[in-house]
């Protein structure tokens, strides 16, 4: 009897301790601090920084993905480092340097595999999300970009040098690769729609983009806007645009044009152009607010102090402002009521209300670049 009471008491104490330790991660996020090799843990609801986690290496052009339970983040560093962060314990849970020079990554729909695309050696490597042990290696002989996850434990990626797209199906005992040649000259980045159906890669070496319908048995390259920009003088490109922050606004894609001061509107079904909007500079990100009603655009050097907001019904710029020097990235809260903007050379993250455009808060950060909220864990292709 006495023993039982003791046992019960112990069990209760354990439960209480567990409860006290619980961290809800649904409104947390991480911000890349690119020059110091650290990430900042932030709280979206409190609009505050909670902790800094250091020791992640060269984080220029770094990005990250989340485990399905929103506890772990996998950070892809430029120097080939793959770092697993435990955001509950606020510490590094594992780290491997898997290549000499990397460009981004993805996590499989089941959360078991993390893939990294590499420039050097060119290709994709796949790791066990738990242990970070390598489970597959796909050398491509080319700088490899535009790596995304699609449903069915698959990854899709594209080669800058050879203009091929590969689909790696990891659902069986052995990986199966499907190769699609002739995607175009020098693809620089790619996106996939949230349903995993349409994969679009932007081309640097020629005008236009190339799409694949991944629901087809045998996907074939579909040229999008092939004549786009022809005959116009292309401006020097000081920063490659990003398609990762792709924007599906209503029934249209909004895409940054390479070497031109415009964003392009493309019908999501027919993939035909539906309009162009002149912008302040060469767009880097064109990101739709989650409801699709607005698109926020930032720009390449030297116009990178400015942000424009475009209304998707009228395709008109409805708001323009200058958050500060070197606006690198924008992340919406999952329902879109606020946007977090990293302003690198001001050393700040700035938070705005997306309806009133009022600035709500500034948070100090060291050369902030990418901002990633944990809600990304539940979206395909991010």
């Amino acid at each position: 009897m006495k023993r039982m009471t003791l046992g019960l008491a112990a069990a209760l104490m354990l439960a209480a301790a567990a409860r006290a330790d619980t961290t809800a991660t649904g409104d947390l996020g991480l911000v890349i601090e690119r020059t110091t090799g650290s990430v900042l843990l932030v709280d979206q609801s409190d609009r505050a920084a909670l902790a800094r986690i250091e020791g992640l290496g060269d984080l220029s052009h770094a990005s990250l993905v989340y485990s399905p339970d929103e506890r772990f983040a996998y950070v892809f560093g430029r120097d080939g480092g793959l770092t697993k962060i435990d955001i509950v314990k606020r510490e590094i849970a594992g780290r491997v340097v898997q290549a000499g020079n990397a460009i981004g990554g993805a996590i499989s729909d089941d959360g078991e595999l993390v893939a990294v695309s590499n420039y050097e050696p060119g290709g994709v490597r796949v790791f066990d999300a738990d242990t970070l042990d390598m489970v597959a290696d796909f050398p491509t002989g080319s700088k490899t970009i535009g790596l995304v996850d699609v449903p069915g434990r698959k990854f899709v990626f594209t080669m800058w040098d050879s203009g091929e797209t590969w689909i790696a199906d990891m659902s069986g005992a052995e990986p199966r690769i499907t190769k699609i040649p002739d995607m175009g000259k020098n693809p620089y980045d790619a996106l996939v729609t949230a349903n995993g159906r349409t994969y679009i890669t932007g081309l640097f070496g020629e005008d236009g983009l190339t799409a694949l319908d991944l629901w087809e048995q045998d996907p074939q390259p579909i040229r999008v806007l092939p004549g786009y920009g022809r005959g116009e003088q292309k401006m020097p490109v000081y920063k490659m645009p990003h398609l990762e922050g792709w924007a599906l606004a209503g029934d249209e894609f909004v895409l940054p044009a390479v070497g031109h001061h415009e964003v392009l509107w493309v019908d999501a079904r027919s993939l035909k152009e539906t309009g162009r909007t002149r912008t302040h500079g060469q767009p880097v990100f064109a990101m739709a607010r989650p409801d699709g009603r607005q698109v926020w655009v930032n720009f390449a050097h030297p116009e990178n102090d400015t942000v424009q907001v475009i209304d998707t019904l009228t395709k008109q710029v409805i708001h323009e402002f200058k958050p500060g020097p070197a606006v690198l990235h924008m992340e919406f809260t999952p329902r879109g009521h606020e946007v977090w903007i990293s302003v690198r050379d001001a050393g700040k993250i700035m938070i705005y209300d997306t309806h009133s455009f009022e600035k709500l808060r500034e948070i100090d950060a060291d050369s902030p670049s990418g901002i990633f909220f944990t809600a990304r864990a539940h979206r395909t292709g991010l």
């Binding site: 430029r78 000499g100 700088k143 050379d345």
Partner: protein, 108 residues
């Protein structure tokens, strides 16, 4: 012999001119150029210049360049590749300063 002297003389003049223009960069400008190299060149070449979409710009990788030639590559870009011409944004003195900075391998 006169020809060699002429070449020598031309080289000397070129070098002297180069030096003069690199010194035209003020300390404030130099600081902002250093920032530009790390951040904006770094977006393609890597923060540590070990390469990315752009080729490595470490001292070993570019040691075969004369500063003047390197400055020209920066100003005019590499046509047919993603390396853009920086002439719209940088003066010749700026470019030469960056060339010498890269050749010294100061960027960590």
């Amino acid at each position: 012999m006169p020809r060699i002297a002429a070449i020598f003389c031309a080289l000397f003049l070129a070098a002297a001119a180069a030096l003069a223009s690199a010194q035209q960069v003020t300390p404030e400008r130099a600081a902002s150029l250093e920032h530009l190299v790390v951040q904006d060149c770094g977006s393609c070449h890597g923060l540590t210049m070990k390469g990315g979409l752009g080729s490595p710009l470490t001292r070993e990788a570019i040691s075969h360049y004369d500063p003047d030639v390197l400055a020209l590559v920066i100003l005019d870009g590499v046509p047919g590749t993603a390396m853009p011409p920086w002439r719209p944004l940088l003066s010749e003195a700026d470019a030469l300063w960056i060339a010498e900075y890269l050749l010294e391998g100061d960027s960590k």
